[in-house]
Symmetry: C2
Subunit: 158 residues, 2 copies
DNA sequence: TACCTACATTTGTATATACAAATGTTAATT
DNA sequence: AATTAACATTTGTATATACAAATGTAGGTA
């Protein structure tokens, strides 16, 4: 089990500061993992962002969710939840209606078709995730999560 | 210094498997760090991908690099290095010419203007990177890098 | 030479992302 | 009631990303 240093893969000068190495490692690892997950989703013609929205809606157990809530809960915020949801509506995986109480808001619900679709794909994603994390022990996992949390601590504040 | 769990931020069920938690942590942290770096680059009207290409070219010390090499060395591979480089050419930060030996290849070089530009922006990025990593000790950094390497180990293979 | 295969880049198309501005709605203030 | 400010979503525009197909080039082989 040979861990490959990013400096070698990208032919970067090995003498870069540790801070830069950390950042590049996170950005590069994101690309690798995102690629692996996208390869799972590809045959189902759905993007990882669309998949993420479906999971958020399922998590609400039928309760309608408005656009802002969806955006807050997305792993990677993107500025067009409207168009993302529209794509899901075209596929009949999701439906929307204006909130009866506050007509500025729109309610989004996953459809039965969406739930079925999600069940199929979800199992494959779970398997891939377990596979990706398979080389990491429980203690290592907790430490990794802790250290990533430390990175976000500062980066988060604009 | 309070580390915030991702499950709380995204209102995810706390009982998700550790493998999923790891993956979500990496993907989410990427978004936060990428956002922080983009805010630094924004005033200079350059994307992080374009900035990455400039740094790769500077690293070659004037030696021309062809498109394929640039793509190999990019932190996040994207399928259109052609158009990315074209944007940099429009800004006079980069120039290209066909390779005299192998006319299939094109040579790309950073211009003097590109070098000056990069020097200005680079210092700010370095500072931001140090800031983001400031809560992490040297030992923690090495462990973080090692664990991310473990994740890539499996994810990398299609 | 003509043909084939591999290589390197470019082009086309669809979708995603970032961000500013516009629209429509609500609640508060005068 | 009219005005204003805040809120929630939509629309517009530019660029980025993913991926397939097309173009152009080189080297080998019949």
């Amino acid at each position: 089990m040979l861990i490959v240093r990013i400096e070698e893969v990208l032919k970067i000068d090995s003498k870069i500061p540790l801070s830069k190495s950390i950042i590049i490692n996170v950005l590069y690892t994101y690309g690798i993992i995102n690629g692996a997950l996208n390869r799972v989703l590809k045959p189902f013609d759905i993007s990882s962002q669309q998949f993420n929205v479906l999971r958020i809606l399922r998590g609400q157990q039928g309760k309608p969710v408005n656009l802002g809530m969806v955006q807050d809960r997305m792993i990677n915020k993107m500025s067009n939840t409207t168009r993302l949801v529209d794509k899901l509506i075209e596929k009949n995986l999701v439906e929307k209606s204006t909130d009866t109480v506050n007509r500025r808001k729109i309610d989004i619900r996953i459809t039965t078709e969406g739930l079925d679709f999600l069940n199929d794909v979800d199992a494959l994603i779970d398997t891939k995730e377990v596979e990706i994390a398979s080389q990491i022990t429980k203690d290592e996992a907790l430490e990794l999560i802790r250290l990533l949390g430390k990175l976000r601590l500062i980066a988060h504040t604009p």
